[in-house]
């Protein structure tokens, strides 16, 4: 028979390390049914018959937190054959609090005292025999980190599971409490089996609502139970829940009295010394800023960008150089310089009245006609043409100027474009390989486009983020593992809780200024479900890297590149986060007790590398799986919408530049009226916004195509003029704000779905973001018009009314536990 062993213990007790040590690579990570609490299962390395179920890290079996309820339900309903309770030996008192509750369940328990090496080093003494006797269960000493004793712990758990010998809680509370519990046990009688009777009686004594509902006692029995509790409460002069909590700690104090000797230490531990610096009144904030800058700089700016560029332009682009990339770049630079010289010379010749059309045409051909070139060269020589080729760098600054004469022109004609495959080791990108394969199979153009432009481009755009995500996840795992993440919450709590967020929301917000996908996924570190949901809903308001081209387009085309446009986008993002937090926390959605901020600040320690890598991989692969499906579907849908349409009365497949005939364009036409109040009710803006859902950087490119350019620069310089003629300053800014705040790209929506683990909440998040974006853009356009152009109309009235409604939502008082 298969044996299930539940692994239970406090957070930071080394549970993850023990679980990894016991199961190795035989793990399955999922979620507990219906909730976002992670569930891990695995088979014991040494005995595949034994299944280990990793319960969430918990301090108690109260009915209040999600994690505790999940653990409770599993233990009561599924009744695993044994519980392996990991206990931090350097923090016995609080850890045993959970143990006393586990022992009452009537399931065989083995206690594994972890970090025994540290305990011994500190000179503390634990008398295992005595402790085992007093607790009434076997005890094993282990060091999960070093791997010592863990096999024995597992063996012991299997042994007692096979023996079917349930733990019988031997600890007894105060006599007066015991009388009441005995009375309750007698009252519930045969309603529960004898093994778990004490658990149920104790929970009923605590007035645990979940147990009350489960047992559904008859009215007379209930009255008897309530009597027993009331009497005890009266004698003890306290409420029942407090009595049990105090009694548990009293029992533990009694147990530890003669089985545990703590070395009296006057000196501070290393962890204390680290903490004195990291949370120092004056140093804490600067250090926090440095740590965050470092995380951002490495995972978003430098290494992260390289990784994303490599994945997007290499693996999912033309290809990349395994070695020899530098030589290729030099060759490309030289080639481009020559071409610039050639073009400058031709242009100068054109200006001097020489006909260059034939020449330019032949240069485009695979084998240019020598005759045409010779006649041009002759003519140019006679007119003594000279030019200056201006070489610009990436930022558009002039790098150098090369004078070009007839001799230089002759040289430039010999220029051959370097083939990347000839330099070092060239690895072609996925699209190149697939295209080759499709060509050789003779696949139809439309299918090729669906696979390449639809599926591979869409999914590739998302998978391209994976390397960057993995880098970020390493940081997160380290910050969590070493204990600093708890201090982040400690330092930032004051600021963020005002907006209904957690101190740990800072990291998702910061990361989202780079990319919203890792930002959303970084919210995983927030324990409270309420705070986590709020963070997920608001974090993509921060302008991500892909929205920068849109900002640049508006700033360049309409504001003459004013410096304040780009920072204003960030302020709007921050304002949207803050206002949303304040408004949402007062709504029904987030009503109820905020999660109490009663948090352990664990001792600092270096987390094992294995744990970090495993955590990185689990998060990364879960993103690929969950986000991948959303992306795949939506990429196909958008491709169909943009590539099929009516040309000259016929429905069919469209070329790249015929986007204006597509179904998507028709759709844009149909919905454009919705954007009229926002000032951009033309179908082109609507289509660009919809395409922005695939990836925000597509907004500018799509506008380019719709304005008649096959390709535009990243910031769309080519269309600035046309764009400016269609927009006013106010409507352009409204367009920007709508695109900044509305539903993020599909990849980020996929991440939201992954982290919410709930379709309803995913839709709530997207709907909220889009509505907020609409309202914000409405204000900008209507009130902006009133101020800038003095126009007043029905839209202005609507905008003012919604502003008032918004202010009401923002400032209304609300009753929650926060201001009891």
């Amino acid at each position: 028979m298969a044996i299930r062993i539940a692994l239970a213990g406090n957070p930071n007790s080394g549970k993850t390390t023990l679980f990894n040590g016991l199961t190795g690579s035989n793990q399955y990570v999922g979620n507990w049914p219906g909730v976002t609490v992670e569930k891990k299962e695995g088979k014991l390395k040494s005995n595949k018959q034994v299944e280990i179920v990793d319960l969430p890290g918990i301090y108690s079996l109260s009915p209040y937190t999600l994690e505790e309820v999940v653990a409770r339900e599993y233990l009561i309903k599924e009744r695993p054959e044994a519980i392996l309770n990991i206990v931090d030996g350097s923090n016995l008192e609080r850890n045993l609090y959970l143990t006393t509750q586990l022992l009452e369940l009537g399931i065989p328990v083995v206690v594994a005292i972890n970090m025994i090496d540290i305990v011994n080093k500190q000179g503390d003494k634990i008398d295992i025999t005595k402790l085992s006797h007093k607790l009434g269960c076997p005890i094993v000493e282990i060091s999960a980190l070093k791997g010592t004793g863990i096999t024995q712990a597992a063996d012991k758990a299997v042994e007692i599971a096979q023996a079917q010998k349930a733990a019988e809680a031997v600890h007894r509370f105060d006599e007066r409490v015991e009388v009441a519990i005995a009375a309750i046990e007698a009252a519930i009688g045969a309603k529960v089996n004898s093994e778990s009777k004490r658990w149920y009686a104790t929970k009923l004594f605590e007035k645990d609502e979940k147990v009350q509902a489960e047992l559904a006692l008859a009215a007379d029995i209930k009255a008897g139970v309530e009597n027993a509790i009331a009497e005890c409460e009266k004698i003890m002069d306290d409420d029942a829940e407090s009595i049990i909590a105090s009694e548990r700690y009293a029992v533990i104090a009694d147990i530890l009295k003669d089985s545990y000797r703590k070395q009296n230490k006057g000196s501070l531990t290393t962890s204390d010394k680290i903490d004195q610096v990291l949370t120092n009144r004056f140093l804490a904030l600067p250090i926090f800023a440095i740590v965050m800058t470092l995380v951002y700089y490495i995972s978003v700016t430098t290494v992260g960008t390289w990784a994303t560029d490599w994945a997007n332009e290499g693996v999912f682009g033309d290809g990349w150089h395994l070695v020899g990339g530098v030589a290729f770049e030099e060759a490309t630079g030289e080639y481009e310089e020559l071409i610039a010289q050639r073009d400058a010379y031709i242009e100068a010749a054109g200006d001097a009245g020489i006909d260059t059309e034939a020449l330019q045409a032949t240069l485009e051909e695979e084998e240019p006609s020598a005759e045409v070139i010779a006649s041009f060269t002759e003519e140019a020589k006679n007119k003594d043409i000279s030019a200056v080729a201006v070489i610009e760098n990436e930022d558009g600054e002039v790098e150098k100027e090369i004078p070009v004469g007839a001799a230089e022109f002759a040289v430039s004609l010999e220029a051959i474009e370097p083939d990347p495959a000839e330099f070092g080791v060239w690895v072609p990108g996925v699209p190149v390989l697939v295209e080759g394969a499709l060509d050789s199979m003779g696949v139809a153009d439309w299918l090729k486009s669906l696979i390449l432009d639809g599926i591979i481009a869409g999914v590739g755009a998302v998978l391209g983020f994976v390397p960057q995500l993995l880098i970020l996840f390493i940081f997160l795992a380290f910050l969590e593992g070493c204990g600093y993440m708890a201090r982040v919450a400690f330092i930032m709590d004051r600021v963020f809780r005002k907006f209904g967020l957690s101190g740990k929301s800072f990291i998702p917000m910061l990361i989202s200024t780079g990319c919203g996908i890792p930002g959303v996924m970084a919210s995983r570190t927030i324990e409270s479900q309420r705070d986590r949901r709020m963070t997920i809903m608001t974090t993509t308001f921060m302008p991500c890297g892909a929205k920068l081209p849109v900002i640049a387009l508006i700033a360049g085309a309409l504001f003459g590149g004013e410096w304040w446009v780009s920072p204003s986008a960030y302020f709007i993002g921050i304002f949207a986060v803050v206002a949303s937090g304040i408004i949402l926390k007062k709504t029904k959605l987030f009503e109820g007790d905020p999660a109490p901020f009663v948090m352990e600040l664990p001792a600092y320690h270096l987390p094992p590398v294995g744990n970090i890598l495993r955590s990185m991989w689990e998060r990364g692969s879960s993103f690929i799986k969950k986000a991948g499906t959303v992306i795949l579907l939506s990429s196909i849908v958008i491709w169909i919408l943009s590539r099929l349409g009516w040309v000259e009365g016929q429905f069919g497949y469209l070329e790249d530049t015929q986007l204006d005939s597509s179904i998507l364009a028709a759709f844009g036409n149909a919905v454009a009226w919705m954007f009229i109040p926002l000032g951009f009710g033309d179908w082109k803006s609507a289509v660009a916004t919809v395409v922005g859902l695939v990836a925000k950087e597509n907004v500018v490119g799509t506008l380019g195509i719709l304005y008649g350019y096959a390709e535009v620069s990243e910031e769309g310089n080519e269309i600035w003029e046309q764009f400016a003629s269609n927009y006013t300053v106010v409507s352009g800014y409204a367009f920007l704000v709508f695109n900044l705040l509305c539903a993020p790209c599909f990849a980020a929506i996929g991440a939201i779905k992954r982290e919410m683990n709930n379709a309803k909440w995913t839709w709530i998040a997207i709907a909220y973001q889009t509505v907020l974006a609409y309202v914000a853009a409405l204000w900008i356009y209507q009130i902006g018009n009133l101020i800038v152009f003095g126009t007043f109309g029905i839209g202005t009235v609507v905008a003012i009314v919604t502003v008032i409604g918004f202010l009401y939502l923002l400032f209304r008082s609300h009753k929650t536990a926060e201001n009891r």
Partner: protein, 74 residues
């Protein structure tokens, strides 16, 4: 003299006299080891003035001042 944990000075050690309030937050506070008669050492206040950090039963715990107000100490 009766006072709440909120008013207790950093660096002092106090004894829990009573816990007021009810529900999840109170239960959580008790689960974490703050029960009647427990000794608490107030270690520090966060750089922005809230929350506070306590040493209790040999480990470090952080608590908001708003919640500390419901703990009577002496």
């Amino acid at each position: 003299m009766m006072a709440t944990l909120r008013e207790a000075k950093v660096g002092t050690t106090v004894k829990v006299k009573a816990l007021r309030g009810e529900g999840a937050t109170k239960r959580r506070i008790m689960d974490m080891g703050i029960t009647k008669g427990t000794e608490l050492h107030i270690r520090k206040v966060a750089p922005l003035g809230d929350p506070i950090e306590l040493t209790i039963r040999g480990y470090e715990l952080s608590l908001r001042k708003a919640d500390a107000e419901f703990i009577d100490v002496e």
